[in-house]
Structure formats: C-alpha cells, structure tokens
C-alpha cells in the first residue's frame, strides 16, 4: 500500500464557542472530506467547565479525531501524542476496510491471531512513518487564552520537531480565531517549519466572541483549495478521503 496524505486540523482552545455554527456539525463536515479534527483543551489556573468539556469531546468525536484536556505545562507532549494517535487511528481505519474486503464482512484487526495482528501493525507503523502529513493548526486567541499563547507556541515548535523526524513530509499552517476582521485569520501559510511562526504570535489576543464553528468551516476551505490544486498529482490520496475512523 502506498502512503497518501493524512490531513488533520488541530484545534487548541480553552472553552466554549459562542458564535456561529455548531462546531461539531462543522467537524462532521470535515470528516466527510477526509479531514480529522483533534481538539486540545488547555487549562492553566482556570478550569474548563462542563459545557466546554462536552463541546471539546463532541468536536473530536464528530471529527473522527482525538481530544485531550491538559494543563499548559504538559501541552508539548500532548500535542505530539494527540497528532500521532490520530494518525494511527486514521491509518487503522483504512487498513480495517482493506481487511474487510480481503477477509469478508466485519473482520477487523481484532479478529486476527496476535501474530498476524503484529504483522498488520507493522504496516500501520510503517505508513505512519512514511505518509505525508498536513496539519492545520487552529488557535483560539480569545482573551482568556492570552497568557497561554507562549506555551502554545513552544508546543507547536516541538510538534514540528517530532513530525519532521518522520520519513514522510509534514506541512503545517497556523490560523487564529477570532481574527481582526473575520472569524478566522491566517497567520502562517503551509510550511514544513513552524520556526517561521512570528514573534508576535504570543502577543495576539482579541476580545469578544469565540467563533469555533465558523473557524473550522473556513479552515476546511483552505484544505479544499489545496486539494483541488494538487488533486491531479496525487491520486492515491483518495483512499484517505472516504473515512477517517
């Protein structure tokens, strides 16, 4: 099997949306397009309330990804782990569908004896190492996130360090919401290196609304543009579009 491109949105937030479309509906839309959404809820001295927790879980659930609530100090390791875990999850979903075609209905990895499962897992690990990866990072910069942004920046640098150690290419882009004029604002275009994230990033913060749903919707169009341009070149990407779980 040839490695395709894994597409993810990494949403970093600390609470509930309060403007625009329902975020989990937008996450569902993303999943339909083969884009996985992972959500990290960051706490510092504050706690994320019940409503916020539910929303975070729901977005990742609908987006076929992974969610995790952490204290800011643990952010680096979590960002790395969540991205990795979601990659494995997506690849396993693809492999399971292949297995079903080969072995017949409702057979998955779990039904294989441990030794065979080990062999399949080697393929999963191999694909995780060699696949191309595109991560669109969506950072909530509403007022309460302000003092957490330096930590977010560090963790993003750490993420690019981990992902760039893989054999497959990785590319990142960074968006913040709410933007100055729009719901979402592009900070960094697709790049393999997050070092390019400007020094001004930690100082960004805007008051007012938290339009998580609209931010996801706009982020998706950014992937779409990308894909229509590259669609002709990478046919084998198709296999990942259909399903992400």
């Amino acid at each position: 099997m040839k490695a395709g491109t894994l597409r993810q949105i990494l949403l970093i937030t600390d609470g509930c949306s309060n403007h625009g479309e329902e975020p989990s509906a937008m996450a569902e839309l993303a999943r339909e397009q083969g884009i996985t959404i992972n959500v990290i809820g960051v706490m510092e001295n504050d706690v994320i309330d019940e409503k916020g927790l539910k929303e975070i879980e729901k977005i990742a659930g609908s987006g076929g990804g992974v969610s995790q609530i952490v204290y800011a100090q643990q952010l680096s390791q979590t960002v790395q782990m969540v991205t990795q875990k979601a990659m494995t999850q997506t690849i396993q979903g693809v492999i399971n569908r292949e297995l079903q075609q080969i072995l017949g209905d409702s057979k998955t990895m779990e039904d294989l004896p441990p030794d065979k499962r080990g062999e399949v897992m080697e393929v999963v690990d191999e694909l995780g190492e060699t696949s191309k990866l595109e991560v669109l990072i969506l950072v909530d910069t509403s007022a309460s996130m302000k003092h957490k942004l330096p930590t977010v920046k560090d963790s993003l640098l750490d993420l690019s360090l981990s992902m760039n150690a893989r054999m497959g290419d990785s590319r990142f882009s960074v968006f913040v919401f709410p933007g100055k004029r729009n719901d979402v604002e592009k900070l960094l275009d697709w790049t393999p290196n997050l070092e390019a994230l400007t020094a001004t990033f930690p100082k960004l913060s805007t008051g007012g609304l938290t339009p998580t749903g609209p931010a996801i919707r706009e982020a998706l169009t950014y992937f779409n543009k990308k894909r229509s341009l590259r669609g002709l070149l990478s046919h084998d990407d198709e296999q990942y579009f259909e399903e992400s779980m």
């Binding site: 995790q68 790395q80 782990m81 990895m109 441990p114 080990g118 690990d125 992902m163 893989r166 054999m167």
Partner: protein, 337 residues
Amino acid sequence: MMMNNTLRNQCKLLPGSLVTGKWNKNQYKIIKELGCGANGIVYLVESGNRHYALKLSDNGTSIISEMNILKSFSKVQGSTLGPSFLEADDFMKTGKQLPFYVMEYIHGHDFLRFIDKKGSSWIGVLMLQLLTSLSALHTNGWVFGDLKPENLIVTSPAYKVRCVDVGGTTLIGRSVKEFTEFFDRGYWGLGSRKADPQYDLFAVAMIIINSAYPGRFHKKGEGYRQLNDLIKQKKELHPYRKMLDKALNGQYDSALQMREDLVTVLSKQNHSKKKGLTQAATGQQQTMQPSTRQARRSQNNSKKKSGGFFETFCLLPSYRCSMFFTYMNSCYDIVIR
C-alpha cells in the same frame, strides 16, 4: 497522562485469578500488580512454577507495537537489555477481548534508588554495562529511545543493568515517538528526534547528569549553555565533563567509542581513589537476595524489623502510576536505609 477509568476497570484482576489465552490456551495465575501505564496494566504472574510479567490492555494498537519490538529484541544476539518475549494472546473477560503479552520478569532495583543506596561510584560501572548493551542494539539497527533511570532496573545478586518498557524503541532512521523531555535531545535544542545511536548516547549523558541533580530541572533559555553550567557546578560530574560534552553534542560515532572514554575516566578515578571499581568487584557478595518467592515474602513481611534489602518490582510503564509511587514510597525507607 492519566489512564482512563474504563481501562482500569476492565483490566483490573485480583491476585489468584487466572488468565487463559484464547489462542494458545496457556494459563497464568495473577500474583500481584506490578504497575500500570497509559495503555495497560502489568502483573506478576505464575505459570508452570515460573514467574513472568504479563501486560494486559484494552487497546490492541499500542500493545501490539510493543510486542513487535519485544520480538525483535529477542532476535538481537547477545543483547540482554530488554525483557525477553514469551507469547502474545487474547483474554476473554465477560465477552470483551483484552489483548495481553507475556515476558520475562526482571526483578531488581530502580536505578536511582540503587545509586542512592550503593553510592555514586556505581554510576560509571553501570553506564559501562548500559553502553555495551546499547552497542549491540545499535548494531542491529535499533535505538532504545526512551532511556531514563525509571526504565532501568539493576538486578541482583549479579548487578546487571536492564531496561524495562521498550515502548520507545525505534528503528534507526525513523522518528522517536515515545520519549521523556529531560532525556530528549530535541527538547534541549541539541538535535532532531530522528532515531540514531547518538540519540541514546545523549540520554546516557543526561542519566549521569540526573544522578547529580535528582530533582531534575527545566529548560531555561539556551539548552547547551544551561547544561554546561550545571555540569560545572557539580564536583562529582567533573571527571565526566569531556565525555558528557561530546555525548551532548552528538560527537560519538558509536556507543563503544563513548564506552572507551568512560573506561579511561573510571580508571583514572581508580588511581586516585581506589574505592570505586573495587567496590564493584566485591559488591556481589555484600547483599544476597533470597532466591525463592517464599523466602522473599517472609523477608518482606519482616522488613520493618530487619530492614532488609528486599525486592522492589520491575516493570515500569512509560507513564508513571500514582499507585506505583505510593508503593515505592512505602519501600523507600527500607531500601535507602
């Protein structure tokens, strides 16, 4: 990372219960829990009058990757670094399939506690052993990845350093996915996370630094300068300075090269202060451990009175478990004495 409660409940087994494999039909009797991690619980088990460690999980993915690594370890000639692999199977518990694998039970002392008790002169000797094992591993195309004192066990009566938790082990050229910041060269800004022998050698240097700074420290500003300053501040690290510097900068081509330098450092020390290596040679006779489980148990029971040097457990998963630390703390007084 906290382990979720579902895993805890699903994989929770009481001493005396039996685990029977769905495929191979082998039976294991649970003796006690050894530790728990993000993706499973490790038990001490008995089968055919022998002891093993059994890891049970509710998540097939990560446990299968670990199993693959353990299997490759077994193929590495002459490497006694990790536990040897016995078999993998599934356990059916109330209709749910829980994958598990069985491996050698490595018993001994946590590395830092051992150094605490036996003295810092042991650090060099144990690092020599570790470098020899790493050399064999590297030659076979692997990097250990998550090297840290918590993953090192010193067995007795023959003091031998072994590694438990092989979850970070990575093929050379691939990315290291499981690591601990303090021992990770990427965190200190001193290299990538691509697996190469130098990645492990960096961690060996950090283990030596850690022994002088048991509380560890966080990165502040420029990593290399900070580490350099901290090495200068500790007298016990001075003999190792040149070697540490080379390892931190990835200047050793192989584990054996670093080992050679370490031998030189240690033999110099031996001239000035004979204690170090002589202690290593005679150390074996100092504390013998009872070899049967019954004997150990009776010693454990009387540990408060005798203050004996007794068995701590062995398998430490990547994420620390609070239960384990409660257990360790209760042993602390006795082991350190």
